[in-house]
Amino acid sequence: MTGETVLEVRDLHTHFFLRRGVVQAVDGVSFSLRRGEVLGLVGESGCGKSVTALSLLRLLPKDAARTVRGEVVLDGENLLDKSDREMRQIRGQKIAMILQDPQTSLNPVFTIGDQLQEAVARQNGAGRGSVMQRVVDVLRRVKLAAPEQRIRQYPHQLSGGMKQRVVGAIAISCEPQVMIADEPTTALDVTIQLQYLQLLKELQASTDMAMLFITHDFGVVAKMCDRVAVMYAGRIVESGPVREVFDNPAHPYTQALIASVPKMRQEVGLLHTIEGQPPALSDLPEGCRFAPRCEFAEARCQAAYPDTFHAGEEHSASCWRLADD
């Protein structure tokens, strides 16, 4: 079901240059996305997931953030070399994105139809009548009830779940090759989360697009993703097929994360927690960034950042313990 590589990210470094110092939000991230595949990007808040996504689209605030190194290759072309005008062509056409909070991601003073029309109309200029028809069609694809009425309504007249469907419709309206979903269900009601995830999965499967799914929820990863990459303090520490990583986590951080997920069929007293805090991204340690919280930490972990080791088929992790195997 998975095909050729659509998007390849190599050694991406995005830093924030603030008055109090340089924040290395993304510090050497590499991954690839294949057609028809969902890659989960997992990690706790502030580990650089969203900054990675926005770096791909080059939508970080220009005055503070800069991608200092790396490549983002789409269709054989490096997006980091594109002009602003070329980049606008790529956004919404080739790469689309769903933001986290549907309550704030639609403009309150324009109708649903108007905001969707802006996305639809960019695709091959056609008459106004047919644009509105396509708007209604795309709302039907995200299973929004009564789309003809919805297009005349304003965001505040829709529920959170409905708004997120509209945001989804905006994303798929141009049939992108890559869809980035940045915690798309975090702000939704639990009952609606599952419906929305199913919808995304269906849309992804039917269009065969590649999806980068950002989340902090391992349960969601299991439902949605084919492969998963675990991020910690600006770097990917482990990546591999979802089943493989779940059954056989190689990095102590992944192990700890999986152990912290509550299980339905198990009596637990206290949930597993990871002691301590992630390091400040403006003051990173020399060696492994997880070492201060790691129960297996040794001298070599403090001395140098671990290389990436093979841990199974298409499965790799950055931990010195794997060097011994």
């Binding site: 689209l57 939508l59 005055d63 606008r88 062509q89 790529i90 956004r91 919404g92 056409q93 689309a96 994105m97 933001l99 986290q100 909070d101 704030t104 991601s105 639609l106 403009n107 309150p108 003073v109 324009f110 109708t111 802006e118 996305a119 960019r122 304003y154 505040h156 007249q157 945001v167 905006i170």
Partner: protein
């Protein structure tokens, strides 16, 4: 919407009644108006005669009911100085004020909106700091001083522009600058701060994700939202302009309601002063109603609740 307007109008009537009452009794607090009108060497007979002509005989509450009764019929008394109905005098001056107010408003907005947006987009730049300094100056400079300074420079020293009275286009320049400086400063700072907030919002991020041009992101998605708080300030400024051009109209001898107010005070024309204040109150109520209707137009969240 219609129901809302009717409701607001009824509230307005009630407010005008309160204003009228306050105006009436405040006038009486300053002593017997007849003494203020008469020259110092007037005889006691003259005084009694004046009291009768002005309807000041009889207890205060009877005077009040007569005044209210007349006011409700549109009769706000005779101006002592003009010997005409006070309301008529007001309406003969209103068009002159209405000539200068829209001109000032348009100039102020045309300058303030782009400058505010520019300062927000280039926060911390030279443009931003420069317009910030101009704004502080604009807010801190008193009208009467700026007006006199402009007259001194452009009329007296350079002789380029007329210093007073109504006339052709050139007569509008100095009064408009004098009245408008404060407005430009206020609008510009407000637009800057609301733009900064909106530029940071998620829907602007999504507009960019859609691949919209920066022009569309700023002038469509941001501006419409940034104008919502500006509208409230517009109402306040508009009321201030119509009624508060007192100083500017006096400095430039502009025959509008502001100057009329000044004259009514100077010449102790108390029926005229009462009339001016009551009419101003009504005007401000209408401006506020207009702002609320415009609000509903700009912000659909208000329209549908």
């Amino acid at each position: 919407m219609r129901r809302y307007i009717v409701q607001r109008l009824l509230q307005g009537v009630f407010l005008v009644l309160i204003v009228t009452t306050i105006v009436f009794f405040l006038g009486r607090l300053t002593g017997n108006p007849a003494d203020m009108v008469l020259p110092e060497d007037a005889s006691e007979e003259d005084r009694q005669e004046m009291i009768e002509t002005l309807g000041l005989d009889g207890p205060v509450h009877t005077q009040f009911f007569i005044f209210m009764g007349n006011a409700l019929q549109g009769d706000l008394g005779l101006s002592i100085r003009y010997r005409q109905p006070a309301a008529e005098v007001f309406f003969s001056r209103l068009p002159n004020t209405m000539k200068i107010v829209p001109a000032t408003m348009i100039v102020a907005l045309v300058l303030a909106i782009p400058l505010g947006i520019l300062s927000a987009l280039r926060r911390g730049s030279v443009t931003d700091r420069f317009s910030g300094a101009i704004a502080v100056l604009g807010i801190a400079t008193p009208n009467f001083w700026l007006g006199i300074l402009l007259i001194y420079l452009f009329s007296v020293q350079l002789g380029w522009l007329p210093s007073a009275r109504m006339g052709g286009f050139t007569h509008y320049i100095l009064p408009t600058i004098t009245l408008g400086t404060f407005l430009v400063a206020g609008f510009m700072r407000l637009i800057r701060s609301s733009m900064l907030e909106i530029l940071d919002s998620e829907f602007v991020k999504l507009a960019r994700i859609k691949g919209l041009s920066e022009f569309k992101v700023i002038w469509k998605h941001c501006l419409r939202n940034a104008l919502i708080p500006v509208l409230s300030l517009w109402g306040v400024f508009m009321g201030g302009l119509v009624t508060g051009a007192i100083v500017t109209e006096t400095v430039f001898a502009w025959p509008g309601v502001g100057r009329l107010t000044y004259e009514a005070v100077i010449f102790r024309d108390f029926p005229l002063l009462q009339a001016v204040i009551i009419m101003d109150a009504i005007l401000i109520l209408f401006i506020n109603l207009l702002v609320d209707i415009l609000y509903a137009y700009v912000d659909p969240r208000i329209r549908y609740t």
